[in-house]
Amino acid sequence: MTTEIGVLGLQGAVREHLAALSRLGIAARAVKRSAELDGLSGLILPGGESTAISLLAGEGFLARLREMADAGVPLFGTCAGMILLAREIAGQSITYIQAIDITVARNATGRQVDSFETTLSVDGIGDDVPAVFIRAPYITRMGPEVQPLARHEGTVVMAQQGNVLVTSFHPELTDDLRIHRYFLGMVEKYRQEVQQ
């Protein structure tokens, strides 16, 4: 089994994630239909508009992603992808994949004039990781199993629970590949577990 990673390709920053994976020498493809999820060792859920992506995916697709999460396949959600993976979304009853025990607040950084870029200290990765926040969601609650990995001004903006990794920000809009490399580490670990 070769390592192949999918990028949910319904809408959003698909190209950037594919480019980051290709620069790391990893085979990757955009996935638009649930049948295309077969055989993937990991999946990235990109930034975009979470309402549009969830509508385009539909319930069957989301159910498949829930199964993948339960089966231990590594999932990495950036921005809208984090909203899709969260257990709860503040101020709305609709949820999607619910693969990580966090509550997120949508558009928590405000409107586009308040979008920003900065550098973050990320546990185990470095203290100078560039991060672009675009109308970004924040993590407002974390369950006991969730490990915070980075904060911005006190708020958690990157977290992991087992096979699920989420960021409020967009590492794919920068040239820095360290966060994608970290995710590949999760994928490698999963593959070894599957082989045993």
Binding site: K32, G47, G48
Partner: protein, 292 residues
Amino acid sequence: MVKKGTFRVKSGLAEMLKGGVIMDVTTADQAKIAEKAGAVAVMALERVPADIRAQGGVARMADPQKVKEIMAAVSIPVMAKVRIGHFVEAQILQALEVDYIDESEVLTPADPRFHIDKWAFTVPFVCGARNLGEACRRIGEGAAMIRTKGEPGTGNVVEAVKHMRLMQEQIRAVIAAPDDELMRMAKEMSAPYEVLLLIREQGRFPVVNFAAGGIATPADAALMMQLGADGIFVGSGIFKSGDPEKRARAIVEATTHYNDPKILAEVSAGLGEAMSGIAIEEIPPHEMMQVR
């Protein structure tokens, strides 16, 4: 350190809209319909292009009250149009905190010679273009997103096709050009040399390029995507049609699955009446919006 309004932050929002549909709306109710249908953003304006074309008169920025109502009604980004060169309308929209400003030929130009200095703003701008030179000049002025001009309010996709094909052809030529021909190309296209250099370095156009102007059907949207558009603006095409909800949803599906004719056939069926269109030859030259 936190930096706002950088080019990466401005163009970054456009990157997030890729593969999506941005819909013209004139009321909060229309904005909600658009959001529910899967629009990635809405464009707030007073009248859709087809009405501006039919009614004539001076078309201006929408009433701030209207813009605020639309912003309050949806959680997706809200864009709004200003007249070409009207930097005070842009200052007002920035103060309202709209997410993107469209310096648009659909409205009556306020300045016949100059576009807005878009570097002076924190809010990002999208501008229309008919060819690569025009697109590069707008980027030179600070635009973080480009769209074809097409011929707005016609329901006729021919001009958008023309503009997209020309731009793609010119981008390919720039990427393939030897070093010593690039300055000459810049001169002939009236394009800033530095932007052409950027295209060559990156091997692609440096910002997101959407299709706009005359898109009325799911097939039109898929056509523009297959021709290389990053996403779709629909102006009059939705709310001037018989069944806006259904058509909006169908255009969203067609934009994502633009390469899958089976899905296109499904979503194109039974949409009711499309907006009635106008042949470009029937438009008197002084009423052409794309030349603004």
